[in-house]
């Protein structure tokens, strides 16, 4: 069992948990992910690693309630435990593998959208620890939905916050902020964009124009997370890759986002049904399209 030492609600529907998982905490690197199962009946849910404490043996996860299973997960409290917590899965971020000298010369831009701030944070923090100050753009729909601002401020070189409705920081999408920064004369050698698929797609379209190599982290549907099922296959540069073992990070300019977005909808109706079942319980009488 994997005990939850800390739980907090970062904003509406986005939760952070510190979970005891010694092996994962010891082995994980920025860019990797875990798969969790809340109980013996639970679905396997892939989640990015937001932070880790090797000494305490804990791993921090951040998740957003999107489906029936993540809604169920909210009921877990401090002192409760996950039934399963496996990882680290996937390859570490490319940055981790780079020689220190090269890394220090790099001008790096992170672009995080929504809950994507969670997987961006450990990378920025890791760079900060290596003495590299990276610029970070965090985009959020509104001020209320913004997460990890304080944490990010502590480790980022420059932090640029933008909200879709202009309720906080700059106004508009993350792509607007990228354009603005470049117009202000900023130059970047690499961009790492993590967030909703649609955001990553548009960031990549822009950075391709701007000639900034861009890495994205994909979160497709997965079952085992070890390469066995192939559910997470994505087309990158015309070749089929498994996000769980070949990724989750890929060259954003090569990813077929339209296909990846279509594939994400695969179980949408099934998930919708499960959600209805969960919300309505015994009172469920039709409306799910299944009964």
């Amino acid at each position: 069992m994997y005990r939850i030492l800390k739980k907090s609600e970062l904003t509406t529907n986005i939760y952070l948990m510190d979970v005891e998982a010694k092996r994962v905490a010891k082995a994980c690197q920025p860019g990797q992910f875990v798969i969790v199962r809340m109980d013996a009946e639970g679905e396997r849910i892939p989640l990015t690693i937001c932070d880790y404490d090797r000494e305490k043996g804990t791993v921090t996860i951040v998740f957003q309630c999107v489906g029936a299973e993540t809604h169920r997960m909210v009921s877990l409290e401090e002192g409760d435990a996950f039934h399963d917590f496996v990882g680290p899965l996937g390859c570490p971020s490319e940055l981790v593998k780079e020689p220190e000298e090269e890394l220090k010369k790099k001008r790096i831009l992170f672009v995080a959208g929504g809950v994507g701030a969670a997987p961006v944070y450990p990378q920025v923090k890791w760079l900060h620890e290596q003495g590299v100050a990276a610029d970070v753009i965090v985009g959020s729909k509104t001020k209320d939905l913004l997460i990890l601002e304080k944490e990010m401020t502590a480790v980022a070189g420059n932090l640029y916050i933008t909200t879709d409705d202009g309720s906080y920081g700059r106004s508009g999408m993350v792509t607007q902020t990228i354009k603005d920064l470049v117009a202000e004369g900023k130059e970047y050698d690499v961009c790492i964009a993590i967030g909703p698929m649609i955001m990553m797609k548009f960031v990549c379209l822009l950075t391709k124009d701007l000639n900034i190599p861009t890495v994205v982290s994909l979160n497709p549907i997965m079952v085992d997370g070890t390469g066995m099922c192939g559910a997470c296959r994505v087309t990158v540069g015309g070749k089929v890759k498994f996000a769980c073992v070949d990724g989750p990070e890929f060259d954003g300019h090569e990813v077929n986002f339209d296909e990846a977005m279509r594939r994400q909808t695969l179980y949408k109706t099934e998930e919708g049904r499960a959600m209805l079942r969960l919300q309505e319980g015994d009172t469920h009488h039709g409306g799910c399209g299944n009964c």
Partner: protein, 464 residues
């Protein structure tokens, strides 16, 4: 029994084909004691028993059948469990027709003895009567790590535990059993009643199982040896990554690997309405491939309510699946589109599968495998209307372990190189067996390899 009866095996009871096509209950119901004893009397107890030579783990078959004949099921079980850690599994899924039963002298003039069904009966009897295999007498005080809790790993671990080693199995998934749990469906191999119980038996020998450990990611083999005190390691990590055809449209919504489809249904219980894991409830499915896994996927889709076609590019004779599986599939209403090869998967504007373009094949000259090579018949293209395609084309090795273990060699197919006789790899103290070494094969061959490696590890550690 009269003379004629002796040539014919006692038939085994099965669930009615129509009924079972709509449920996930076990197809084969097995022998009862009377049937088992009657079948056992057909065995002539050959001195130079060929059946033992046909068994990858060399069970003393005539001896256990003799005990069945006498009605001493407990002793029959002990004889089997000396050689096999998973008799209730093997009695169900071994290809006996090409192994023990294939060599049975009785088979020359009539039906061979139903060794598999007898093994199953004995194992089930032992379970129902609470009989456990005998454990180690003396502890050796040495630790061995086993990677993977499938048939190879469980067998190797069980054998080592019986020799007195302290064994820990590391399993990547949340449940032990490997392919027995995620791959083979409930209706062929009940998970709770059979698989979980056999694993309990292995645990009863003192074997520890740590789930949720992906060796190569969570911990490396070198760390297991240097930091966690394991003196030898057995790799039984299984087959690996599913293959796809590389035809257009393969990433459309509704195309799955058999691994994914079966894992959702078997491991995650998606066949059960109350499961939290979704599975596609299809109307018309094509399963591409002709092996046992293809049959399992097809029969699962059928039970979930679909019309199911097996699409295979060679003819019935070349189907790699067990005859029994093909027979069961046909009985249940699976349609076989043989000598047919997919060329493209068609999808609507939202990316959902609508059909599959195929071409008819004919058999030409024999190829390297000795089977006649399928050749396309020009102009024979046609389209099948479908909403789901399940690719069951085999797997390629998982690089997670080989890429993180220095000194561990792989061959040109990226399988781990290991001696057949004792499982020894190119890295000292590290042994391997099963699909990770051979590529996708059978449960019993993996068990045979696990057994050989246990012997190899014992010899290595004794000489250390």
């Amino acid at each position: 029994m009269d003379v004629m009866d002796v040539l014919t095996k006692i038939p085994v009871r099965e669930q009615d084909a129509k009924e079972r096509a709509a449920n996930f209950e076990e197809v084969c119901l097995g022998y009862n004691q009377e049937e088992a004893q009657n079948e056992a009397t057909r065995c002539i107890n050959c001195k130079n028993a060929q059946c033992i030579k046909g068994c990858p783990v060399a069970i003393d078959i005539p001896a256990f059948i003799q005990k069945v004949k006498e009605g001493d099921m407990a002793e029959a079980y002990q004889i089997i469990s000396k050689a096999s850690a998973l008799p209730a599994v093997c009695g169900r899924v071994c290809p006996q027709e090409t192994q023990c039963e294939g060599k049975c002298i009785r088979g020359i003039k009539g039906d061979p003895i139903s060794i598999g069904k007898l093994e199953r009966f004995v194992a089930d009897w032992a379970r129902e009567n609470g009989i456990k295999p005998a454990g180690a007498v003396e502890k050796k005080g040495k630790k061995v790590a086993v990677i993977g809790s499938g048939p190879a790993g469980l067998t190797c671990a069980g054998d080592l535990a019986k020799m007195g080693y302290e064994v820990t199995i590391f399993e990547a998934l949340h449940e032990p059993g490997g392919v027995l749990v995620y791959g083979i469906p409930e209706f062929r191999l009940p998970k709770k009643a059979v698989v979980a119980e056999e694993i309990e038996n292995v645990k009863a020998l003192g074997v520890k199982i740590e789930t949720n450990v992906v060796v190569g990611k969570s911990v490396t083999i070198d760390e297991l040896i240097q930091e966690e005190g394991f003196e030898a390691v057995f790799i039984g990590s299984g087959a690996g990554l599913p293959k796809f055809m590389g035809i257009p449209g393969e990433n459309s919504n509704g195309v799955f690997s058999a691994n994914e489809y079966l894992t959702r249904s078997n491991l995650m219980k998606a066949f059960d309405e109350s499961s939290n894991t979704p599975i596609m409830h299809s109307k018309k499915v094509a399963v591409v491939g002709g092996g046992n896994v293809a049959m399992d996927a097809a029969r699962t889709a059928l039970r979930l309510g679909a019309e199911v076609h097996i699409v295979y590019r060679r003819s019935e004779e070349e189907l790699p699946a067990r005859v029994e599986e093909v027979h069961h599939a046909k009985e249940e209403g699976i349609i076989f589109d043989l000598l047919t090869n997919p060329t493209e998967i068609l999808a609507d504007e939202k990316g959902w599968v609508t059909g599959m373009k195929c071409i008819r094949m004919e058999l030409g000259e024999p190829d390297a495998s000795g089977r006649r090579r399928p050749v396309e018949i020009p102009g024979s293209e046609f389209t099948m209307e479908l909403d789901t395609v399940i690719m069951s084309l085999g797997t390629s090795p998982n690089p997670l372990i080989s890429s993180t273990t220095e000194g561990l060699e792989t061959n040109k197919w990226k399988c781990i190189v290991a001696e057949e006789s004792n499982g020894q790899t190119t890295k000292e103290g590290v042994y391997a067996g099963g699909d990770a070494v051979t590529g996708a094969a059978t449960v019993i061959l993996a068990m045979g390899a696990g057994k050989a490696a246990a012997k190899g590890i014992d010899e290595y550690l004794c000489g250390k």
